[in-house]
């Protein structure tokens, strides 16, 4: 009754274009082309290894576990940062329509050689976030005779974030890292947030401070980190939530938190943001310079500037929504 199994396995001769750079040999990076027969099941990493084993043993890249859990092999394929080991090559080759694919090292990090980047900057930034549990004595027993108790719901507050494998794909794609070398990067904030909401921890305040020191408010919420994360972590959400707990903890004296607070307060009060006065609220007295400059500009064009918010019909609706939200929040807290 049995039927013979004949697996269908496709093969396409593809051109793999790889960025090369060996610092004791080359002055600048360049591209090499390799012809590889790409078949069903072949991952990007397998193709790289095939080239190294059969065509050019000096091709340099990192790889270790081959099962998407160690985070070593992140590279960019047609500019997208991804794990080479868990990315099928054939669909990319076919998708591209040219039987060709380009592999480059991760962005935002110094290149050590070929596809290998220096990830120490990422680790150094992470290390500044106090990325470890500091015992909360109210929750953790003094001896090892007992375990501490924590509900699955409490764990679920941060459980997903512990999936992070430090591959730095998010760091490579991050818009804020690109413009600000001191910015911690998505994964560091995700880690800081993970510990800050662990009920067994007692170091949240220090982590909020470390986050602010490393640009917590610089994230522009482009959310590309969410898109590229191979573990489906949502660092941009963690950054947003970290900002929220910072404000909840009474830290209102940073430009970002003042802006966020001004937005929420204004909308409640006026049904809209009080844009004319925003620079002063966010940046203090320095903001007046901006406002005055803007007013001069408007007058030049014959426009009369105002520092008042204009009245909108139905603006009290916003206040009603706020009231409702506060009630729900209160109920949730009590549960």
């Amino acid at each position: 009754m049995s039927e013979k199994i004949t697996p269908t396995r496709e093969k396409i001769l593809a051109n793999i274009r790889i960025q090369r750079f060996t610092p004791d040999k080359d002055r600048t990076p360049y591209f090499d082309n390799f012809k590889v027969e790409v078949e069903t099941g072949m991952t990007v990493l397998e193709a790289l290894r095939y080239i190294k084993n059969n065509q050019d043993s000096s091709l340099t890249f990192r790889s270790f576990c081959r099962s998407a859990i160690c985070g070593s092999c992140a590279v960019r394929v047609n500019a997208d940062p991804l794990l080479a080991c868990s990315t099928q090559l054939l669909p990319i080759i076919k998708d591209f329509g040219k039987s060709s694919v380009t592999i480059t090292p991760m962005a935002n990090l110094p290149i050590l050689r070929d596809l290998v980047v220096d990830i120490d900057p990422v680790i150094e930034k992470l290390a500044k976030m106090h990325p470890y549990l500091m015992k909360n004595k109210a929750r953790i027993p003094e001896t090892l005779a007992q375990e501490s108790l924590m509900s699955q719901q409490e764990l679920n507050q941060f459980g997903q974030l512990t999936d992070c494998i430090l591959c730095a794909a998010c760091f490579s794609i991050c818009s804020a890292v690109k413009v600000d070398k001191t910015y911690a990067g998505p994964l560091s904030f995700a880690k800081a947030y993970r510990f800050s909401v662990d009920p067994r921890d007692s170091f949240r305040g220090m982590r909020i401070q470390a986050s602010m020191d490393q640009g917590l408010w610089s994230c522009v919420q482009c959310r590309k980190c969410i898109k590229v994360c191979p573990k489906d972590i949502r660092p941009a959400d963690s950054i947003r939530d970290m900002r929220r707990i910072a404000i909840d903890d009474g830290i209102h004296d940073t430009p970002g938190s003042r802006r966020a607070k001004a937005y929420t307060d204004d909308v409640e009060k006026f049904g809209q943001v009080n844009k004319p006065m925003l620079p002063v609220i966010v940046n203090g007295t320095q903001g007046w310079t901006a406002i005055e400059a803007a007013e001069v500009g408007l007058k030049k064009h014959g426009l009369e500037p105002t520092r008042e918010v204009c009245k909108l019909p139905g603006q009290s609706g916003a206040a009603t929504i706020y009231k409702k939200v506060r009630e729900i929040e209160k109920q949730e807290k009590n549960v």
Binding site: S2, K4, I5, P7, T22, P23, D24, K25, T40, G41, M42, T43, E46, K52, N53, N54, S57, S58, T60, S63, F64, C65, R66, S67, A68, I69, C70, G71, S72, C85, T87, Q88, L90, L112, R113, V116, I119, I123, H130, P131, Y132, L133, M134, K135, I140, L144, E147, S148, L149, M150, S151, Q152, L155, G159, T162, C164, I165, F195, D198, R200
Partner: protein, 563 residues
Amino acid sequence: MLTYDVLIVGSGGAGLYAALKSRIEEDLQVAVLTKVYPTRSHTSAAQGGVNAALANKDSTDTWEQHWFDTVKGSDYLADQDAAELMCREAPEVIREMEQWGCPFDRTSEGKIAQRPFGGASKPRACYAADKIGHVMLHTLYEQGLRHGVNYFNEWVTLSLLHNGQRCLGVNALDTRTGKLHTIHAKAVILATGGYGRVYWNRTSNAYGNTGDGAALAYRAGLPLKDMEFVQFHPTGLRRTGILMSEGARGEGAYLLNALGERFMSRYAPEKMELGPRDLISRAIETEVREGRGGPDGEVFLDLTHLSRERILQRLPQIRQLCIDFEGIDPIEEPIPIKPTAHYSMGGIHTDMNGVSPIEGIYAAGEAGCVSVHGANRLGGNSLLDILVFGRRAGNHALEYARTHDFQPMIINPLEIAEKRIQNLMVGESQETTAGIRRDMGNLMSEKAGIYRVGNDLKEAVAQLAVLKERYKRLKVQDKSKIFNTELVAALELENLLDLAEIISQGALERTESRGAHYREDFPERDDKNWLKHTMATKGTDGRPEITFEPVTISRFQPEKRTY
């Protein structure tokens, strides 16, 4: 010269636990030397769980039952005093991990959740979804950062230095610069993991699981124990060896040969696909040998008769693994699989504190062999081994380093390491690392793998001598000093070749079948002659010398192992 009180080689669970324990009071200088970044280590790949008789799920569980399960699982080759100690200490180390922030899943009372596991009489595997190894490794790394453990990332250890009585340190290569360094240390803990890569493409192990620590110790004159015992998992993906968990067969998957036959009816007509791992591995091997395998020597794990909904609901991760790593959707077509080398029971001979015969040199985890796993490791005991014995080695090394001085370093310690690198780097040759490595993997899979027989093993020993001769002619083609991964692979290959020889020699001498070691010509366990550990030391002719040591039996007399 770089100087540390305690130096750990390897950054998996055992290494990081040892580092943390020796650094915890922050009075000693401690460094971890690793050929990757610490969180890349293979501990992260462990999915299922870590055993400890916490009795959170079943209040009748005790460490004594865990002890018995471990000894029985080992086919009575485990030292019972060592297994006892591991099972006794298990709850404490799990609580220590928990208190350091390890995110174990929880029971409805908020305790650490536990699940049943093969070979365990009670549900005692503590877990975190399917990523327990990953979260344990990260927890240890995080606490290491906190306490000021130093890390030498992407450094390769070349030799272990001692003066015959005491530890001196190591020689190592910084792969980023290509520079060689001697690190002077009072204590060195080898925690470099297993040697599944001896079977090269036929393993679930990471590329770097090349038994570096065991090979370093062997070349430094230390004995290796029970190296012939390598556990195979029956269902690894065809291309990569990545594991398809037993969950698939639990849900009703069939094992089919290329003719589409449910071949397990020939080998285990009652249990069919749910028979024990070693039996299924051998059945698959037989099918392939007799010509009923697929084009790449694979058989098939078939889910296609299950409904789409059932696969999506019950086996979503298995499906995703097939899509990502094999490029096929198991809803549409059968999954090609092969048995795959999974775990190395053997390793560097140590006592229960991880101490080797040379004072100050330690080994822990899969690199070491106390022995707690004997001839076959129980699921969930590998992570426990690294925690308990990593911790014990760290504690012992801490006391040792506090109470002992540095030994004077030998003159020109780098000389041998420099020569070794130069031999590989200078000149041209037809031999390549990839070529020798591939031949070694095929040889070991065919002659010293799942099925073993005297003549094949003799052939393996003879062929390995040929491969070692080829290795002597090997030259690295990449001449750059910077991040030379071809050089690293060549160094790893030398380690693998030494270990392959020891595995084959040990398997040849052991004329019985026990646990993972199956001799077709001696299919029965032979307690009268073989209830003993195999010890391999490097002989004066460069070949392994095999001797034997008794097994410690304290409570459980050997019985037939049936489940």
